[in-house]
Symmetry: C2
Subunit: 191 residues, 2 copies
């Protein structure tokens, strides 16, 4: 059937996000999403487990992107450099379609259950980066520390970028945030 | 009625945690918790909105503890020092009753919904620390960066402490983790 439904997944995702933005996540049904995309409800459920899943189906791709960026960092790169490269790469991917990313953030921010799910997703990204760092020989707890900190920096940079629609690009904000945190640690009283 | 129910809240919380540990969170009812505590179900609902709330009722206290620790840091303290003092203080409070903290962690780890709620709670703690830092005159995004990083360090330290029941105390693990992250940033390639 898929030859009659070119890019069904992408069309459904786009229709869902548009409807969530127009009428709210709670008030939107899978049938409406399918109708907007010119597809059947059955097709919707072939691609997504539920309407919530539409907002989070990119997680696997993001996890792989972060893991690959860390694995591909130069052999001698410090863990925080590898993590910095990875979260900047994530910023670059999101910067490719800022309107979609901002609309998705608006939908998620308006719904407590979606916000909790997003936090869980971000925690999973930290785990993936820690795994990739251990794959480079970084021991624990250094690997988890660097990975969790990378996500903390990304979260902060992302929130700043959302608040400043006419500010610098997301990868730049991520890089500046990582630098700023490095400076904050340099001003810390030595142990 | 409260004169006939001394420390009802504490008794309910203890009974709930014991039952969640013995038979699982999902299989435990408010009526069972009340019975175990020698109280009525009505009393349970006077103290807690639902059985989930029993696991998270300490959040307000923790939020205040972190905010106060940051407010009370010496006038010239660097933001990462203030945050370090705060998350160490949280570690010290949890270390006062490690068995209860470990049992609570076991219950939460076994349940996806509780894990999501815990992440939301931790995000709220970062927000409270950022507010307290801004109250000291730390500007954004430095305040949010330091606060989110403090929670990332605490999460990592806590996970390590949970895995090593015979290892060092939680405040010591938190302090060592903060030092280790400082070293990791020192090894980063300068911007």
């Amino acid at each position: 059937m898929s030859r009659w439904e070119p890019n069904a997944r992408g069309r459904l995702a786009e229709a869902a996000l548009a409807l969530y933005g127009e009428q709210g996540f709670d008030r939107t049904t899978a049938a409406e999403i399918a109708a907007r995309a010119g597809l059947t409800e059955r097709t919707f459920y072939r691609h997504f487990a539920d309407k919530r899943e539409v907002l989070f189906h990119g997680t696997d791709m993001v996890r792989e992107l972060l893991a690959r960026a860390i694995a591909d960092a130069p052999a001698g790169a410090a863990p925080m450099d590898a993590v910095g490269t990875a979260v900047e790469a994530l910023g670059a991917v999101l910067q490719e379609n800022p309107e979609r990313v901002r609309l998705r953030d608006t939908v998620i921010s308006a719904n407590a259950e979606l916000r909790e799910r997003e936090l869980t997703k971000l925690a999973g990204l930290a785990t993936a980066m820690a795994d990739a760092l251990r794959g480079r020989g970084v021991p624990e707890p250094a690997a988890s520390l660097a990975a969790e900190t990378g996500i903390a920096v990304f979260r902060t940079a992302f929130a700043h970028w959302i608040r400043e629609p006419h500010g610098p690009d997301l990868p730049g904000v991520v890089r500046a945030s990582m630098d700023e945190l490095g400076n904050a640690f340099a001003r810390r009283t030595p142990a």
